[in-house]
């Protein structure tokens, strides 16, 4: 039962972050919500007893993917003004 409550909490948080990532007007918000979503997903993987996936998602999904997004965003932002 306790596990169920955590699952529902995490699920709702994920849906919130997902919707925000997809619909935000600002690009930076989208990227950061994607990062948040991926971190919450890490918790989801831990709940489902998948430590290997959780580590990989933490390092690659919420680490490197966000880094590459931010690099693209900031390089472009520095060269010209975007929203």
């Amino acid at each position: 039962m306790e596990n169920n409550i955590i699952e529902i909490f995490i699920g709702i948080l994920m849906l919130f972050a997902g919707i925000k990532a997809v619909t935000s007007k600002k690009m930076l918000d989208s990227i950061l919500y994607l990062s948040l979503l991926s971190m919450v997903a890490v918790v989801g993987f831990v709940i489902m007893k998948a430590p290997d996936v959780a580590i990989t998602e933490a390092v690659i999904g919420s680490g490197l993917v966000t880094a590459v997004f931010l690099l693209t965003y900031s390089v472009v932002k520095k060269s010209g003004d975007i929203a």
Binding site: E7, V22, I60, V68, T72
Partner: protein, 112 residues
């Protein structure tokens, strides 16, 4: 429960692909879709009261109630493939920005 959340997350990603006109946000939507998909695949292998599929000094026998390790292995592959595609897509995005000076498909003209 988390299985249905992950399907809805995939649908949110597809929804984003349909409505977004900004190429960075298209890649964000693809990533949302992939996270949902990965959660779904791991959820296929979950067993109630199962333990993580690693033999340790405490969980030392193969007869214990492990969760299914195979979907987890598949998801590892899928995550890495996702990273490859995301970085390639972002490289395209930068080249497109150089050509059109915008990330917005509407401002580029054309009809895709």
């Amino acid at each position: 429960m988390i299985q249905y959340f992950s399907i809805i997350l995939m649908l949110i990603g597809i929804f984003g692909l349909l409505i977004d006109r900004n190429i960075l946000k298209l890649i964000v939507s693809l990533n949302v879709f992939e996270i949902g998909l990965n959660l779904f695949i791991v959820s296929i292998g979950f067993v109630n009261n199962g333990i993580a599929p690693i033999l340790t000094a405490n969980n030392s026998s193969s007869n214990l109630n492990f969760v299914d390790p195979l979907p987890q292995a598949l998801v590892l592959t899928s995550i890495v493939i996702g990273l490859g595609i995301t970085s390639l897509g972002l490289a395209f995005a930068r080249k497109i920005y150089k050509e059109y000076n915008t990330f917005d498909l509407n401002e580029m003209g054309g009809n895709n």
